[in-house]
């Protein structure tokens, strides 16, 4: 026996915001759904970042196994070059492929790292960094795009990524641009919902999944309007207008959630989950500057010391490490601003490098120095993970040597600066490890408020709901405390027979697209739009 199963992703959703919105009446459906189902904080992976976290939920495996650590990846463990992470880099089977392999049909919309699209029995429309003008290439089956294009109101430009709109939204962030950015995401979520509704009506699949990523986008830019603690006692008329626009986004999202759950029907199990949580960030740690000040990094000429204009804001700053760093004098660096990861240059890769025999001592010294870095009397780095601690598994060799958590929960900046730590001019939003889990349906214990779950626990729950045996490779557990006891007794969970782990559907050859300076600019703009770059 199986239940139709719906996964609704709310990228970056946190109860810090959602609880307030439910209490204020902005999200009445979510309030009702939550009270009638189960809820828990959902612990993300290290780092709490969209690509590794959603991939963990999609595979039931941690980053050291599935091999996704960031939006980008090194081209090889010894390389200094990075390239875009694609679906081919996922080294474990996704739940989409698993369900499809078991004879179930699947719809998956707007999830990252779904390009090139996996060939599953169902429908794929990729999300993440999928340019709207090439969205056709990311849709599966191949005729899906034309079918969607024929829908009333279909708007690929607003549905997928439009570099022009992204740039418009991020350049300057004037008052008008804030409003445009929010309104774009209100329309974007509606576009995704229209596609979902169409597919659920014409061909309801056993597993249906959709991701709404405007939650993350708004929280990055608009945290100070969403979090009442940041808004202040006497907000300006413009601040109130932006807050109301943000509330309107969540109000309309609530309506979409209600319609999806209604369409799924009473026999469906519905899981709402986020990949990570959110909180305020108030300062910027220019980690490459800190590494330079502490003798670990050297720039070529004046690179990294610019102080003015957009260069200083970070446009094109990441991935420039390849040609802006003096590799004869650099032993540690940060390549991307998203994963909070430091790479140690190893001997043999050209340049200086740390010999294998000295690696452990060198890394510990670097960790100790980072933990000792203080500002205003308090440590700036709140936690450090080694590669073995954060990314145990066969794919860990591509991961950063050291991963940091900062005291304000922020992301590292790769842009050069005269000061290693600078206060932000205004509060922004940044990721936190604690996301949300809300579930409802016949399998779910009504009214259960549970201790924290792991994002890795969601995958076995989805598989269980689908009536499939749970693969032994899954690293999470089935959260039985979230399940209705009578349902659980009637359908005890089964574990898949031991055997060879399923392999991801990947082509024999993998692309090795490395970014040019032009690519970097677009990618940097995109990251900056997300708040990853200063």
């Amino acid at each position: 026996m199986r239940n139709r199963t719906v996964l609704i992703g709310l990228d970056g959703a946190t109860f810090t915001i959602l609880d307030g919105l439910m209490a204020e009446g902005v999200m009445p459906f979510l309030k009702q759904f939550t009270s009638g189902g189960a809820r828990a904080d959902l612990r993300s992976v290290i780092p709490p970042l969209t690509p590794p976290a959603w991939t963990s939920l999609m595979t039931g495996r941690s980053p050291g196994h599935h091999g996704v650590f960031d939006f980008f990846r090194l081209t090889s463990p010894d390389s200094r070059q990075i390239r875009l992470t694609t679906s081919h880099d996922i080294q474990c089977e996704t739940i989409w492929s698993l369900a499809s392999r078991e004879g179930l049909r699947v719809t998956t919309l707007n999830f990252p790292l779904m390009f090139p699209p996996p060939h599953i029995d169902g429908y794929v429309v990729p999300g993440g960094w999928m340019p709207w003008r090439q969205l056709r290439l990311g849709c599966y089956p191949p005729d899906l795009y034309d079918r969607l294009k024929a829908l009333p109101g279909f708007n690929a430009r607003e549905l997928a990524m439009d570099p022009g709109l992204e740039e418009k939204a991020i350049e300057g962030c004037s008052q008008e641009e804030y409003a445009d950015w929010i309104e774009l995401h209100i329309r974007r979520e509606q576009h995704w919902f229209e596609i979902l509704r169409h597919l659920m009506q014409i061909d309801p699949c056993e597993l249906t999944a959709v991701l709404f990523d405007g939650v993350d986008k708004l929280q990055h830019l608009c945290w100070r309007f969403l979090d009442p603690a940041c808004l202040g006692e006497s907000p300006s008329p413009w601040e109130l207008r932006i807050r109301n626009l943000c509330l309107d986004y969540f109000r309309q999202l609530d309506g979409i959630l209600a319609e999806i759950v209604g369409m799924a029907g009473p026999d469906a199990n519905v899981v709402i989950a986020s990949d990570h949580g959110f909180g305020p960030t108030t300062e910027i740690f220019h980690v490459n500057t800190w590494l330079e000040q502490n003798g670990y990094l050297a720039w070529v000429g004046d690179a990294g010391h610019g102080e003015n204009g957009s260069q200083q804001l970070g446009i094109g700053q990441f991935a420039r490490h390849v040609f802006e760093l003096d590799w004869e004098r650099t032993t540690a660096y940060v390549a991307t601003p998203s994963s909070n990861g430091i790479y140690i240059v190893r001997a043999g890769a050209g340049g200086a490098g740390v010999p294998d025999a000295e690696y452990g001592r060198f890394r510990q010294k670097l960790i100790d120095s980072l933990l000792a870095f203080k500002a205003d009397g308090a440590p700036v780095v709140s936690r450090v993970w080694t590669r073995e601690e954060a990314f145990a598994g066969p794919e860990g060799a591509l991961a950063p040597d050291i991963t940091l958590a900062l005291r304000d929960g922020g992301h590292l900046s790769v842009a050069g600066s005269s000061e290693a730590l600078v206060p932000r001019q205004e509060v922004k939003g940044s990721h936190r490890p604690e996301g949300v889990f809300i579930a409802g349906g016949p399998a779910v214990q009504a009214g259960a408020s549970l201790p924290q779950l792991s994002i890795l626990d969601v995958t076995p729950l989805l598989v269980y709901s689908l009536g499939l045996p749970i693969p032994q490779e899954f690293e999470g557990r089935l959260p039985e405390e979230a399940l209705d006891p009578s349902f659980l007794a009637a359908r005890p969970p089964a574990q898949a027979a031991p055997g060879e782990p399923p392999q991801p559907a990947a082509p024999e050859k993998k692309e090795e697209v490395v970014f040019s300076a032009e690519d970097e600019k677009i990618m940097a703009d995109r990251l900056r739009a997300l708040g990853y770059i200063e």
Binding site: Y145, E511, S516, D519
Partner: protein, 100 residues
């Protein structure tokens, strides 16, 4: 997988014709069409196009070399004829040597 220059040109033009219809682009796309100036491609779109072409042929094609070369030579654009020639050259090499 090997393909003649004409086959590659036909494949690439067919792909871009199909895509440009989605953008309501009305101009003719030929070997002389510039991806940046005529079609207005952003760099991410070049990357995605490259991944799609690799998918089509099932071969790894080092587009980074082409992009890097264009950057070094400060060329104003990437013309479809140049792109096709680059793809064809690497498909030929792959068919002969199995390595590119």
């Amino acid at each position: 997988m090997s393909a003649t220059y004409d086959q590659v040109m036909s494949d690439v033009l067919g792909l871009l014709d199909q895509l440009s219809d989605d953008w309501e682009y009305s101009g003719e796309i030929t070997a002389e069409t510039g991806l940046l100036t005529d079609l207005g491609f952003e760099s991410l779109e070049l990357v995605v196009l490259g991944v799609s072409i690799q998918e089509h042929y099932g071969e790894q094609i080092p587009f980074e070399e082409m992009l890097s070369d264009i950057g070094k030579r400060k060329l104003p654009d990437i013309y479809i004829g140049d792109l096709v020639e680059f793809i064809h050259k690497h498909l030929e090499r792959a068919a002969v040597g199995g390595s590119i």
